[in-house]
């Protein structure tokens, strides 16, 4: 296999690897506070991967349990800026671990009043196994990983918020375990990836600002992300599109001697990614995620997120 053919395979693979590692986390979160259920993955022949990302997410509207979504008025502004650090490292030839730590700054403005809060958001620990390695080229066999991730609720959530406007509620509030698989394939200039995952949030007791205690059991949820991309041959750029439906089952709440159930949630994330592969070790990505384009959206906030990411990789 000569250099031109190798280049046509290698560059898209590197670009896909670099951008999937970031794009999967650049999602607008459904209410209230949220993190990605997929870890930062090393999908290329790298030993270590370090990423810095900044994203800005704005809540555009709210989808009720039934009826049309309501887009918020000009007098309301809810913006979350997240600075995220991702570190991933291989543990063996086919296993890897990752850590993600976000720093969140949230502001809520309503009726001339503005409230804001900053702090560490929910961190996460990830582990992955390269179940389907790509040792030789195949026209159809995908390159695949099995992964699991644990969300650590360091931040306040909507259940124990103390700030006016709930501006300090930028965490999920729950320990959440997710498991899934990443399957990706590149053909010359085109690439595709699919990432199904299932997650379960452990029940947790909260004490609100009024001293009342409640126990919330979020239960299961799932999502499937599918994306395609085009890798420019003469320029080190990749453009990608992705969609991701996300579902969460109703929550069970035990409070003041009574048990209630919320409604299920549905939201569709659609995204556009542009990546620049500066070298085999450095890449820069920009992404846009929108929850207002596709539906149905049920019982959720609707947001739009812009993100920039810088990634550094160390080869094996």
């Amino acid at each position: 296999m000569g250099p031109p053919a190798l280049f046509r395979i290698l560059v898209p693979s590197l670009a896909v690897g670099a951008l999937l590692a970031f794009a999967g986390n650049a999602r607008a979160a459904a209410c209230c506070g949220g993190t990605s259920a997929t870890p930062s993955l090393i999908t290329g022949d790298d030993a270590y991967q370090f990423g810095l990302a900044v994203s800005r997410s704005e809540i555009i509207g709210d989808a009720p349990t039934s009826g049309k979504p309501v887009f918020r008025g000009d007098g309301t502004d809810e913006v979350t800026t997240t600075y995220r650090l991702d570190v991933a490292a291989i543990l063996s030839d086919r296993t890897q671990a990752s850590v993600t730590v976000p720093f969140v700054s949230k502001s809520v403005a309503a009726g001339g009043t503005s409230n804001g809060a900053s702090g560490v958001g929910d961190a996460s620990l990830g582990f992955a196994y390269e179940a389907w390695p790509e040792w030789t080229y195949s026209e159809w066999k995908p390159h695949g990983f099995l992964f699991t991730q644990l969300n650590l609720p360091f931040a306040h959530s909507i259940y124990d918020t103390e700030a006016a406007g709930a501006s300090d509620a930028f965490g999920t509030g729950f320990y959440r375990l997710s498991a899934g698989t990443l399957l990706r394939k590149a053909w010359r200039v085109l690439d595709a990836a699919v990432t199904p995952e299932v997650h379960y949030s452990l029940p947790r007791a909260f004490t609100d600002a009024g001293g009342s205690s409640l126990r919330v059991s979020p239960g299961f949820g799932a999502s499937v992300e599918a994306g395609v991309g085009y890798n420019f041959v003469r320029l080190p750029f990749r453009v990608g599109l992705r969609i991701q439906p996300v579902w969460n089952e109703p929550r069970t709440i035990d409070a003041d001697g009574a048990r209630t159930r919320s409604s299920a949630q549905w939201v569709w994330n659609t995204g556009l990614d542009v990546g620049y592969l500066a070298t085999t070790e450095w890449s820069l990505s920009a992404s846009y995620t929108d929850q207002t384009l596709l539906g149905p959206a049920v019982n959720t906030t609707l947001g739009r997120t812009f993100a920039l990411s810088l990634q550094r990789r160390w080869p094996r």
Binding site: A110, A166, A169, V189, G295
Partner: protein, 165 residues
């Protein structure tokens, strides 16, 4: 533009446009908050908020109704169910009064509401009258306003009002 890129973009554009039109897109089918007319809270009957265990009634009156862009303030009044009315005489409920906002569909509440007993010019507490402030609903939709009677953090009795923001 290469043929492959052209064909790929065309297919993707067609697929995406079809998905947008077919799949209940919030962007294409929504209402704006400024166009939504909300019915004011209408309390029914002689005892709008009933506390049968303590034989009390209460009423909730908005000073400023909250919207998705404005905080709200309200007055709470308590009277004895068998002798009082919404116009008085008002009585002390003999418990701490708390207000909790709850969104049943989402299964969560909102930021804390401040509830304070109203005082007269001398600073003395006026029996049965409370002011609720910082009433903020984190998102529009159907909410419940729970009025709780507590002692040492324990809820002795509570009652709710339904409101749509």
């Amino acid at each position: 533009m290469s043929r492959t890129l052209y064909v790929s973009l065309s297919i993707l554009t067609l697929l995406f446009s079809g998905a947008l039109l077919a799949c209940d897109s919030p962007l294409l089918d929504h209402v704006n908050a400024n166009d939504v007319v909300r019915e004011p809270l209408r309390e029914a009957g002689d005892c709008p908020i009933a506390f049968p265990v303590h034989k009390l009634c209460a009423s909730w009156t908005w000073d400023r109704m909250p919207t998705d862009s404005d905080l709200g303030t309200a007055q709470l009044r308590f009277w004895k169910a068998d002798v009082g009315t919404v116009n008085g005489p008002f009585v002390d409920p003999h418990h701490e009064v708390f207000v909790k906002l709850w969104m049943p569909a989402m299964g969560h509440g909102s930021s804390p509401v401040t509830t304070e007993a109203r005082v007269d010019a001398s600073g003395a507490k006026i029996p049965g009258l409370y002011d609720a402030s910082k009433v903020f609903f984190v998102m529009p939709g159907k909410w419940e306003i729970w009025v709780q009677l507590k002692t040492a953090g324990q809820v002795h009795e509570q009652a709710k009002l339904d409101v749509e923001i």
